[in-house]
Each structure stands twice: as C-alpha cells, then as structure tokens.
C-alpha cells in the first residue's frame, strides 16, 4: 500500500525585503541576528533586498517592509511587494505608524520644501523638479493605509531576537507570536 501522502521535496521559501522611508535600522537588526542569519539563509532564498541588490521582486513567500510611505516611489515599491509576496509584514515603527518620518505631517509640505530648498544663500535655490525624483506625498502614511498587511513586528527597531522569533514562526508554520520580552525596551 502506498503512503497516502507521497513525500514531496521541501520547498525553499523566498524572502524579499525593502526599506521605504526609514533609516535601515530594521535591516541592521536583521543583520544583528549574526550567525543565526546564516543558519536561516540555509532554509530560505533572498529575492529583492538591499542585501542582494536585486532590483525587482519576483514571486515570494514573505515580504518584509521597513519604513513609512513618504513619496510616489515608496508607493510603487510597496505595491510591487504586495503583488508578489504571499505574506507581507510591516517591520518597525515607521512601517506600522509612520514613525519619525511622520513628524512632518502637521507641517505644510510647501512651507517645508521652501524652508529646506529655498531659504538659503544659493543662487540656484529652488524646489527640485527633476522627473527622476519621486514626488512627496502630502503626508507620510503607515503602509497598512496603502496596501493590505498580514502581520506587523513592533519596535524601533525590533530586536534581532524579535525578528528571529517572528521569522522562525513564519517559516515553520506557526502563527507568529512575540512575547512581552521581545518588545519591552526599558
């Protein structure tokens, strides 16, 4: 009699990561997993990520997004991730709430741009208008206001332990769960 479930080759998971309007601190935390990261890398492949320098995302199992949505390019990257990642995770305070970049939200964008680019002794002082540059959004948005998000990992940045625990849970098929110690910082 045949086994009811013929053995299948274990699928290697594919992970993509990106930073939108953020400081790369969450990615630093990812690297902060140290040798555990290498261990993890045996089980997964990395697609688009600052770590691989792959420019566009293909079909992936897990997408990790750091940073808030500040400009048009952030929107495009986020949409690309949502379109290609089965599971999309908001990583860190900026992705979840807007974080530090959102401090500009009470300010008027025009006033802000003029202050930065025009209020100076400079003959060519003007707000940059090169089509290469992405336009700023009126406000900074958390990523869940632009696309559907499946999970979030709190922290600024989340600790390496928190990321490790969360990713291990995801990879092994458990609903990710962070214990209090993982996001307690005092």
């Amino acid at each position: 009699m045949n086994a009811p479930f013929p053995p299948r080759a274990k699928k290697r998971l594919k992970i993509a990561t990106a930073t939108l309007g953020g400081c790369f601190g969450c990615h630093m935390s990812l690297l902060d997993m140290d040798e555990r990261f290498l261990e993890r890398a045996k089980l997964v492949d990395f697609d688009r990520s600052p770590l691989t320098d792959i420019k566009h995302c293909g079909p992936c199992d897990i997408g990790l997004i750091e940073g808030a949505v500040c400009n048009a390019e952030n929107v495009h990257v986020l949409r690309e991730f949502r379109a290609h990642c089965r599971t999309l995770v908001a990583v860190g305070a900026c992705a979840i709430n807007g974080g530090l970049p959102a401090q500009r939200n009470p300010l008027d964008l025009g006033g802000l741009m003029r202050k930065v680019y025009c209020d100076r002794v400079d003959e060519t002082a003007q707000i940059p208008d090169d089509p290469e540059l992405p336009l700023m959004l009126d406000k900074v948005y958390p990523i869940h206001e632009i696309v559907r998000i499946d999970y979030l990992i709190p922290g600024c940045p989340p600790s390496a332990d928190a990321l490790w625990k969360f990713l291990t849970d995801l990879i092994e098929g458990r609903t990710p769960r962070l214990d209090y110690a993982h996001f307690r910082f005092d």
Binding site: R79, L109, P128, L135, L137, D138, I146
Partner: protein, 595 residues
C-alpha cells in the same frame, strides 16, 4: 479683570472655594462668561490655589466646557441614531445654512456655534438639541426657523416660548412604580418602622438587582458599605443617564423625584450614610431647579435633614452635582472622580466604591430606578417584591422605547416580558431590528424577538431602540462607532486607540473604500477591546457592532469595494501639492490605481 472677579466671586463663594467643587465652579463660570477664557482660568486657579493645568484637565475632558469661545448661543444637536432617523441631520443642515456656518464654526460676530453632541436623552420626543445646556425637543423645520429668528434677535433663553423646552413624560405602560400613588414620606416612614436591620432584611428578601445595567444585587452593595470601616459613608444616586436611547431616569426625576430622594434616604438609613449626592447629567440641567425645590420641600417636611421623622439617630441630606457632557461618568468610579472635581476616568477596581468610594470612604452608588425600587420594598416588603418578575430578575423594569414605533415613551413591565410583547405594545409589529441596552447593548433580529428582558436572557438598563423595515443597520453601527470614539476617556490604550481605529474603518467602509479586510479587522478589534479594556466602556463598545456584522451582514457587504483592499483616500490627489510645487505633470508625477 475687575468684572471677572465680581462675577466669579459669588460662584466661588457658593462652593466654599473647594477644589473638589472645581467642575461645578467651571460649569457656573461658563454660564456667566460663555467660555473658560484664559482670564477666567487663571482667576479660578488663583482663587482655589490649584495649578491652572488642573482646569485644563477638565475643560479638555468634558464636552460641554469650552476653552475657546463658542458663541453666546451654543447649539448642540443630539446625535443619537434615533435623532438621525428623525431627520436631525437635515434640520442641522437647515440651521447651518441659515447662518452660513460649518459644524463647530463660530459665527464671525461671536453670536453662535452649531455642532453635535451625544444622545441628550430625549429620544421619545426628538429630534432634540441643547442650547446653552437647555433642551429643546420635537424639532421641526418650523421650530428651527423660529429658533434662528430668536437667536438673531439675541433673545435671552428665558424669553423663548416655553413650549420649546417642554419635556413630556410619555408614560405608556405603568406598573408597580410608575402606576402606584405614594404619599410623600410614606416610604421613609415605612423603612423607619421596619428599623435598620429590618429594612435591610427586606432588601435581601427582595433580591433587588441594580437597574443601571450591571445588575449587581443591591442589598449586597448596601451591606458591604454598611460594614466597611470608614469615617463617613455616602449614598450616590447615578443620574448620569448617558446611554444612547435611555431616558427613564429623566422621567423619574421629573415626576417621581420624591421617590428617588426617599430611596436615597433609605439607603442612608440602612448603611449609616448621612450625606447623599445626586449626580445629574448636564443635559438634564433643566431639572435642577425643580429638584432643588423638591429637596427644600422635603427638608421642610422633615424627610431630609436632622432627626428625620423625629428619629434622633437618622440624619441625611442630599446635594445635587452636575455633569458636563461625559458618557463615561455613568461608570460609577468615573462618576466619583467627577464628583470629586476631577476628570471622570474610571478607577481601578477593586477596591470597589462600597468600601473605597467618594473621598476614599464607603459609598453606595445606585441607579435612579434602583433607589425608587427601594421605596417599593420599604412599603410593600421584600417578599411581595420578589414575587414579581422572574426568579433572578425580581420586580419590574422600565424600558425607554424609541425609534420606529407608533408610541415611543416609557413602558414598565415585570421582568420576563418578551421583545415581541413590547413591540406589539409600542406599535412596531414589523420591526426590522431592536437595539437593547443602548449603544453598549445588543442588537436583536426578528428571529430573536421571543427572547425576554431579564438578567437571565437579555439584560438591559432600559434602552429599547426600534428599527423599522428599510432601515440600514450599518448607519447605526457607524453612529455607535463615532459615539464611542468620542466618549472613550483615553485612559487605557485598547479603548482609546481601538475605538478610534474602529471609527476610522467604519468611516472608510461608509466612503466605499472598505474591503473584507476591514471586516476582518473589525472582528479582531472586537475581541481586543472586549478582552483588554480597562472598564465597561471599552469592553462593551463593540457589542452592537459584533451583533450587527453578524445579523445584518449585507448592510456591511454591500458597501465593500470590489478590490481586496484599497486606500481610504485618493493617492493621486495626495501628490497634487508636490506637483504644484515642482510644476511637474509627467507620468511619474501621478499615481494610478493599483492594478
């Protein structure tokens, strides 16, 4: 400054310059000055020797205290769903139109502002509004026009037609309480005849449970207060009837005030309290003068004061405290905080007020109706009382019926009455849904109309809002979501943030941008608020939403976007300012819809 001091002085003197009377002082000061200006703020802070921030704490907490000018006439439309169903939004739009104002905007001449407020307890004779804390009922387009003319002519409120302020009792079905004539002092004398222990024994036998919603056994509460160590004991009557759709306490205080006060005196007699407070919601300010007159009358009759009815060991008196627009103050510990002159934020329980209440002393907090019930028990005895109603819910219950029915008003039934019976009696046989217990209650669909009003089945503090055929239950859920966001006290995160996120998602769905994702999130938030909020407000804020999402799902589903998810705002419009700043209009300067 001189004029401020001269107007402020009598107010400060009235309350003995006690910081614990800060809320009362600010209410009166606002009446005198129309708002709590920086000058009034510092004068009060100076006079009471308290930090000015303590005043800010109150002006920012209570909806009906203003730290910026809101006009000489402050018009607030009651925004309960029953007011909305009776066309309140159109009436408000009509009034705004006449003055060319936006909601909340103050007219340039400082004459008036028009905004909304939570349910004002006039659901049986709505739509209603408050103007400078006075209730105007039965609004019609004609009444709105007349109101506008009076305001334009700067007519003082006292000179407005008295029928504008008329509040009817609308008692439709009277039973034990509403139907029984009771001579002044009869209940107190009956209690005195039974003696302290005898009266308490009757309370125990009656198995009376609190009528404010939670249904705690009254005798147990009184016993805990009586037996707790303390320097003084207090009886508080909770008349902060803020639950949307409830108005029975308004009627009891308007036409049965003697019963309420006698009930308080009996509670004082049994527990040994010498002082009572009636915490009256600000929306019922019009009741204050007649209530004060009733208290004076009772003092003259020796039913309050020292040696009541000649018993040298029984002294009790009652003071009225006014609220200022905060639903949360119906929660007993928030109410006590408010009574002490602070922002009404619920305390951590235990300890319960029965042992550590007002000023840390043993305190009984009872609903208006509960205290009336104590007078019935004094007169008729606990056994008789326990014979009415059901086994676990003895006696009768007053329901405040409003919404789509022919005869809105008060209906008093023995506990155990079926929803269908109430609907038949009020003229709403074809009801589509009934919301029981107010915004924090449950929503029943027709297949449940054989259920019964009792703690064993459908518990309620009395609100009974009827929705007729053709009503859209999403509108109700949205109204409740906005209500809870506004009324959350902000003390605990699950409720403060949770009610705000829920309101935002409901408004997103209303705008046509919601998806199944939002419905899933709402279900998740329901569990979160229910299990982790600090007090009953957060714990019950999603009860109606949960019921409506389950029983009236199509009302939600028909509003959903065809997409899996979409932003709640126009992304391309969010780039418009940057396009204008850079003068760009190339393809990359635009964001299309997500494909």
């Amino acid at each position: 400054m001189a004029s401020i001091d001269s107007s402020l002085e009598p107010i400060l003197a009235r309350y003995g310059r006690a910081p614990s009377a800060l809320l009362q002082i600010l209410r009166d000061a606002q009446e005198a000055f129309d708002w709590i200006s920086p000058e009034v703020r510092s004068a009060v802070a100076h006079a009471l020797d308290i930090p000015a921030t303590q005043i800010d704490c109150l002006t920012q907490f209570y909806a009906h205290l203003y730290d910026e000018p809101c006009g000489r006439y402050r018009v607030l439309f009651s925004d309960n769903i029953t007011d909305r169903m009776a066309d309140a939004p159109a009436l408000m739009a009509r009034m705004l139109d006449q003055f060319g104002l936006e909601p909340g905007e103050v007219s340039s001449d400082g004459l008036l502002s028009i905004a909304t407020t939570s349910c004002t307890g006039m659901c049986d004779q709505g739509p209603a509004l408050l103007v400078n804390n006075r209730a105007v009922t039965r609004l019609t387009p004609e009444r709105i026009d007349a109101l506008c003319a009076l305001i334009r002519a700067r007519t003082p409120l006292d000179a407005w037609p008295s029928e504008f302020f008329e509040v009817n009792d609308n008692i439709r079905r009277a039973d034990m309480l509403l139907g029984a004539a009771c001579a002044s002092g009869e209940a107190i004398r009956a209690a005195l005849a039974r003696g302290r222990d005898g009266m308490f024994a009757e309370m125990k036998k009656s198995n009376l449970r609190g009528r404010g919603g939670a249904g705690f056994t009254t005798a147990v509460k009184w016993e805990a207060c009586r037996d707790a160590p303390g320097e003084a004991r207090y009886v508080i009557c909770n008349a902060d009837e803020g639950e949307p759709g409830t108005f029975k306490d308004r009627v009891l205080l308007q036409s049965y005030a003697g019963r309420v006060f006698e009930g308080m005196a009996i509670a004082g007699y049994v527990t040994g309290a010498k002082k009572g407070f009636l915490y009256l919601r600000g929306e019922y300010s019009y009741l204050r003068a007649p209530l004060e007159a009733k208290l004076a009358e009772m003092r003259r009759e020796n039913l309050l004061g020292d040696a009541i009815c000649g018993d040298p060991g029984f002294s009790f008196d009652i003071e009225i405290h006014m609220g200022a627009g905060a639903y949360i103050c119906g929660e007993e510990t928030a109410l006590i905080e408010s009574l002490e002159g602070k922002a009404g934020k619920p305390r951590i329980r235990p300890p319960f007020p029965a042992t550590h209440g007002y000023l840390g002393q043993p305190t009984v907090v009872n609903n208006v109706e509960t205290l009336c019930k104590a007078t019935e028990i004094a007169i008729q005895g606990g056994v008789f009382y326990a014979g009415q109603g059901t086994q676990q819910s003895t006696g009768t219950k007053i329901l405040s019926v409003s919404g789509d029915c022919e005869r809105p008003g008060l209906y008093e039934y023995p506990f155990g009455v079926s929803i269908a019976q109430v609907l038949e009696d009020c003229g709403a046989e074809n009801a589509f849904a009934v919301q029981i217990g107010g915004a924090a209650g449950c929503c029943l669909a027709p297949h449940e109309f054989d259920r019964r009003i009792a703690f064993e089945d459908v518990p309620t503090a009395g609100a009974f809002m009827v929705f007729g055929q053709g009503r859209d239950m999403f509108e109700t859920a949205l109204n409740f979501a906005n209500f809870f966001e506004h009324e959350s006290c902000g003390f605990c995160t699950p409720c403060r943030v949770g009610t705000a996120v829920i309101a935002r998602m409901m408004n997103k769905i209303d705008a046509g941008h919601g998806a199944r994702y939002e419905l899933n999130e709402l279900n998740r938030l329901d569990v979160l608020l229910r299990t982790s909020s600090h007090c009953g407000l957060g714990q019950n804020a999603t009860m109606a939403l949960r019921d409506m999402m389950q029983k009236f799902a199509p009302a939600f589903e028909r509003r959903l976007s065809l997409k899996d998810f979409e932003p709640g705002f126009d992304l391309d419009a969010a780039l418009a300012e940057a396009r204008a700043l850079t003068g760009r209009d190339d393809a990359a300067a635009h964001l299309g819809a997500d494909s």
